[in-house]
């Protein structure tokens, strides 16, 4: 009497975009086929149970040459937290020097996800 859910999703682990065929039972334990590599299995499970996205954005700076600096999360963030993160990023005002790779926010809302700069700006 176990109801199995089947879902076609496209793996976004890499630009290959494998078409994954996912079967889940009782809302967990997901079976994945159609993946070219192991990351596809993880991706399929996560997309079904706990979707996450890498967030990229720009943040205001005090530099006159580059008034905004790009940033990204170091790992995908759970989707419901994205609006909050964006809101927080748009409040920021950072001062150069900025080094690409350095953190702007660490461990956002205890998710273990950091936000780092992705472009360097000299003083």
């Amino acid at each position: 009497m176990t109801a199995a859910t089947e879902q076609e999703i496209i793996c976004l682990g890499c630009p290959n975009g494998c078409h994954l065929h996912c079967t889940s039972k009782k809302g967990h334990a997901v079976d994945v086929t159609g993946n070219k590599c192991d990351r596809g299995v993880d991706y399929g499970r996560e997309e079904l149970l706990d979707p996450k996205r890498v967030v990229t954005a720009v943040v205001k700076t005090t530099s006159s040459e580059l008034p905004y600096v790009p940033v990204r999360t170091t790992a995908p963030l759970v989707k419901p937290l994205i609006p909050e993160l964006l809101h927080e990023l748009y409040q920021q005002h950072v001062t150069p020097p900025i080094r690409s790779g350095n953190p702007l926010i660490e461990n956002f809302r205890n998710t273990g996800v950091n936000v780092i700069f992705t472009r360097s700006i000299a003083e």
Partner: protein
């Protein structure tokens, strides 16, 4: 007017130009890298989204990160860099290549070189190129321009947006606009399938519930001063069915309707341009019809992945090194042509017995396709390709051993898809 001599000049300091210049410098030659922007990296600096570098750096990066990593190497290699410098003219006479460039500090510079690499990237097609009828108000932007406005300068071009074309830049912009608070009301695509890569369809449209209208066109733009609305019309049997048109009120129209290799300079130097790619026709060494003039990256053909740009351009740099060492032999080259279901293949020539990387674009959409490499009427090699679609370039390597010499001149190679 100053005159400068180099062994090689690279025009354009995007991913392509940097990768090519690096390889030339590693070969021990004096090379100059010229770009009209104030930074290295070209278009990458405005592509702040992730999805770059998985093949090349084995890590998922954003555009600026990818660019910075290459740029650090370029600077470390001691390459002469000319920024804010526009190349205005290019001519070839008696084997000497002359570039006329200009910047505000040094004025006009004449560069003379033995080899030139064209790496000028591409530009976006615009409204005129696709002829959308209607008025001509403010609020019509190409997607790349909108990207630059938001990602570099923090300006939002509009609040209620309709995007024409489902190319990657447009899709990426749908997400970006949503993330900066604007509302994307529709993406309209003339073809029956999306032009962008799947990842972008999922993450940039599905995530935000943005409707994608396939086989639809924008048949009219309205608005006197600023865009006020667009009319969207479905295509039935290839022709617009006006009775089924609907109207969407919006203040902005973004165009993501394709890229065209930027070859005005190449044409000035008499380089032959291929009608299939819009870029120069190149031989097995990525050399154009003008001897000693090479091309790589988006100026050669439009790529969807920077990793392939870097790869192609590094190889191009290698050929330039061979050329400068007089090691590009007189080997006979055979023609490469696009067969059934293939829009184009680059390069346009090959050398028998030598490993060759081919880039090609499909005309068809297929879950599982087969590449057929044919010569003299026979299939000499087959390859399976997953998820064939026009949006995703197919990139593959043929071993030299699979391409043996033929009797007499090398026979033409035909690459087809089925």
């Amino acid at each position: 007017m100053r005159e400068l001599e180099y062994e090689a000049i690279v025009i354009g300091a995007g991913a392509a130009g940097m990768a090519a210049a690096l390889r030339i410098a590693e070969g021990g030659f004096r090379v100059a890298l010229v770009d009209r922007e104030d930074h290295l990296g070209g278009i990458l600096m405005q592509c702040i989204h992730n999805g770059f570098g998985l093949h090349w750096f084995k890590q998922e990066l954003t555009g600026p990160e990818f660019a910075e990593r290459l740029a650090e190497k370029v600077v470390a290699a001691g390459i002469d860099i000319f920024l804010n410098t526009t190349v205005m003219d290019f001519s070839v006479s008696n084997g000497v290549k002359t570039l006329i460039a200009c910047n505000s500090e040094q004025g006009v510079i004449q560069f003379n070189a033995r080899a030139v690499v064209l790496a000028m990237g591409c530009r976006e097609r615009n409204r005129g190129n696709i002829g959308i009828p209607g008025t001509r108000p403010a609020g019509i932007f190409t997607a790349g321009l909108a990207q630059r406005l938001i990602n570099v300068d923090g300006y939002v071009p509009g609040k209620r947006v309709v995007i024409i074309g489902s190319g990657d830049i447009g899709l990426i912009m749908a997400r970006r606009l949503s993330w900066v608070g604007a509302k994307v009301l529709a993406v309209v695509e003339i073809l029956p399938h999306p032009s962008g890569i799947t990842r972008n369809i999922v993450q940039c449209l599905h995530d935000f519930n943005i409707p994608l209208y396939l086989s639809h066109i924008v048949s009219r733009i309205e608005g006197k001063d600023r865009v006020e609305a667009v009319t969207i019309t479905p295509l039935e049997g290839g022709t617009p069915e006006h009775s089924k048109s609907f109207r969407i009120e919006c203040d902005t129209v973004l165009l993501s309707v394709g890229l065209i290799p930027e070859n005005e300079l190449s044409k000035k130097a008499g380089v032959t341009i291929g009608h299939d790619t819009g870029g120069p026709k190149v031989d097995a060494h990525l050399m154009t019809s003008a001897e000693g003039v090479f091309a790589c990256g988006n100026v050669l053909h439009v790529h969807d992945l920077v990793d392939f740009v870097a790869d192609e351009s590094t190889r191009c740099g290698g050929y330039v090194v061979d050329y400068l060492r007089d090691q590009i032999g007189e080997e006979k080259q055979g023609a490469v042509t696009a067969g059934a279901n293939v829009r184009y293949v680059v390069p346009h020539r090959y050398v028998p017995g030598r490993d060759t990387h081919f880039s090609l674009r499909s005309i068809i959409v297929k879950d599982r396709g087969t590449l057929l490499i044919k010569r003299q009427g026979a299939v000499i090699k087959k390859k399976t390709v997953q998820h064939v679609k026009p949006a995703e370039m197919i990139y593959f390597k043929m071993r030299g051993s699979d391409l043996p010499a033929t009797e007499g001149d090398p026979a033409p190679l035909e690459i087809a898809l089925e």
